[in-house]
């Protein structure tokens, strides 16, 4: 198994944290992982993304020019990354905020109302958790729900750990969503 | 005679600053040259020395030391 993942959205959506959460969970289950955030000036432009590789064997290149999985949280990110997804790859897009349908037909496209799921569980800030919950439902070999829940304690800063109950609810709600 | 400057003439660079600070004007320059080829500091009247140390303190080259005679 080797998945090359892009998680992209706007700054504040927690896409970089979502990538780290996935990495910690997968690492603790024995996988090789790497995570490269977009950083610095790029982040100030309002878009943020991270490149995540999760693999059964040692990772050579940690870069993700052609993702096998893209988690896209806003419209500009869809424009930027849709064409780059590997044929046969997976696109999870946040249809709560993205007002158009992806155009690719050679990939699996999953419509996820990430913000709606988050808000239904009582938070307007856990759309990233919905995305991760959905991803591991579709690709359980990346990491288990248990591992992700455990990883929350490491990935989330102490200041925000009080929201973990809601994070877990959102993870699970998205995990079992249609 | 209270004391006097002891002048290490070969180290003197001949700047003459000691001449200018002496309150009793007993510091002067030699008519001959030292090893460095410059006129050097001399005390022309040790009897008048007040042991004020001004010449020594102003000397940039640690040429002058000052001794004071013990009473008795």
């Amino acid at each position: 198994m080797r998945e090359e993942i892009i998680i992209a959205g706007f700054g504040g959506q927690g896409v970089i944290m979502a990538g780290k959460l996935l990495c910690i969970a997968a690492m603790n289950e024995g996988k090789f992982v790497s995570h490269i955030p977009s950083y610095g000036a790029e982040m100030r432009g309002g878009t943020a993304n991270c490149s995540v590789v999760i693999s059964d064997v040692e990772i050579g290149s940690p870069t993700v020019p052609k993702p096998s999985i893209a988690i896209i949280m806003n419209t500009p990110s869809l424009t930027k990354f849709e064409s780059k997804i590997k044929p046969g790859g997976l696109l999870i897009y946040n249809s709560s905020l993205i007002d158009r349908k992806p155009e690719r037909t050679d990939i699996t496209v999953v419509d996820l109302k990430a913000n709606d799921i988050s808000e239904a569980e009582g938070s307007d800030r856990a759309a990233n958790m919905a995305a991760i919950g959905k991803l591991i439902a579709l690709k359980p070999e990346i990491a288990s729900m248990d591992a992700v829940v455990t990883a929350l304690d490491v990935a989330i800063s102490a200041r925000n750990r009080k929201y973990n109950d809601i994070n877990i609810k959102v993870l699970k709600a998205a995990n079992s969503s249609k | 005679m209270r004391g006097k400057p002891i002048i290490n003439i070969d180290k003197c660079k001949g700047c003459e600053l000691c001449n200018g600070v002496c309150p009793v004007n007993i510091m002067s320059m030699s008519k001959t040259f030292n090893k460095q080829g410059v006129p050097y500091s001399v005390c022309i009247d040790e009897e008048k020395c007040t042991v004020c140390r001004a010449c020594a303190i102003i000397c940039p080259d640690m040429v002058i030391e000052v001794i004071k005679y013990e009473q008795g």
């Binding site: 992982v33 490269i36 950083y39 | -």
Partner: protein, 350 residues
């Protein structure tokens, strides 16, 4: 083996410095290495150390000079434009034979360039950007684990040879998070009788690079430095040869570009192409002998850099039949692509 944690390259480097006994850090913010000063500012007070944000890169490297002269294990870090400013200090450190660790997390240039990872400072690092006849050891990590391990090594090498050890990473290595097993301290102790600690019960120590008179003393010092450099060259070359034994096509790279090359080698091997990778771990001393060995069976040698061709000069100088050496690089913060490497290697076969 210790527990694995997910850690960013810059932070792993910072923690490794503390493991190595570094208790003094002076630096000035610049992306993409800002996590290093931030990490040190948090961690050093916890271990009784000192973090100081300097007024400039120039001040920072000179604070390093002072701290090293006082006998401490000390580090500074920066990224490419800041490294240019530090060159003055590096030359003085070399002249005064002071050990320290300097980190350059390279970004795109010239000038202010951009903040993406690049490898355009190879010449500056290996040829020396400051004035005079000097060298410093240049370590080139390629993973978070190596960022940590080479940092621990760097402090020992610095003290052993009284030299600056430069850790030459790039923005991607600084920013990437990977699993890390924290290295153990080596426990090596280096006496520093030359350190400025006050002339109590000994003759005063003087630390200086100025050698005005008599005429020959500077040359003597330079020759003594050269002896040290020769000793380092004979003892401290480090590299990794990956599938090079039978390699008909040899990739040569370091740092992040070596990761991309490794992926290319793996894919080429799956397709039956005998490709291999020679990866630098020290850029100075350049592991010429090991490269020569690794290149024995190679029909073509492809140097891959995140620059427009700097290391390639050392590659050409190291191998027989240097006309075999070809180049592929991207610059300005762009990354070489696995597909392009494969395409070129396959084209050689035709």
């Amino acid at each position: 083996m210790g527990k694995q944690i997910l850690m960013k390259g810059n932070e792993a480097l910072g923690e490794a410095a503390i493991i190595a006994g570094c208790r003094f850090y002076f630096g000035y913010p610049i992306t993409p290495q800002n996590e290093i000063p931030a990490y040190m500012s948090r961690r050093l007070p916890e271990v009784g150390g000192t973090f100081l944000q300097a007024e400039s890169e120039i001040a920072a490297v000179n604070m390093v000079f002072g701290a090293s002269a006082a006998g401490a294990r000390v580090m500074t870090s920066t990224s490419s434009p800041g490294m240019s400013l530090k060159q003055e200090g590096l030359s003085y450190l070399a002249g005064a034979k002071l050990p320290c660790v300097v980190v350059n997390i390279m970004r795109g240039g010239p000038g202010l360039g951009n903040i993406a990872g690049a490898q355009g400072d190879y010449f500056q690092a290996t040829r020396g950007g400051g004035n005079g006849d000097y060298r410093h050891i240049v370590l080139t990590p390629a993973s978070v684990q190596e960022m940590a391990e080479l940092t621990v090594l760097a402090f020992d090498l610095a003290d052993e040879y009284r030299i600056t050890v430069l850790i030459l990473g790039d923005g991607y290595l600084g920013q990437i998070s990977e699993a890390l097993t924290l290295p153990e301290p080596t426990g090596k102790v280096f006496e520093k009788p030359w350190a400025l600690t006050g002339a109590k019960g000994r003759e005063p120590n003087k630390i200086a690079s100025l050698k005005l008179v008599p005429d020959h003393v500077l040359e003597e010092m330079n020759l003594s430095l050269e002896r040290t450099y020769n000793e380092i060259s004979s003892r401290e070359c480090r590299s990794e040869s990956y599938l090079t034994e039978d390699a008909e096509y040899l990739l040569v790279a370091y740092g992040t570009s070596s990761r991309i090359c490794r992926a290319a080698v793996n894919e080429l091997r799956e397709e039956g192409v005998k490709a291999g990778l020679f990866r630098l771990i020290t850029a100075w001393p350049f592991p010429a002998a090991a490269l020569k060995r690794a290149s024995l069976k190679a029909k073509k040698i492809l140097t891959v850099e995140m620059s427009l061709g700097q290391m390639i000069e050392d590659v050409r100088l190291s191998v027989d039949n240097p006309e075999r050496v070809d180049f592929y690089g991207r610059s300005g913060g762009m990354l070489p692509e696995t597909e392009e490497i494969k395409r070129r290697i396959k084209a050689y076969g035709n």
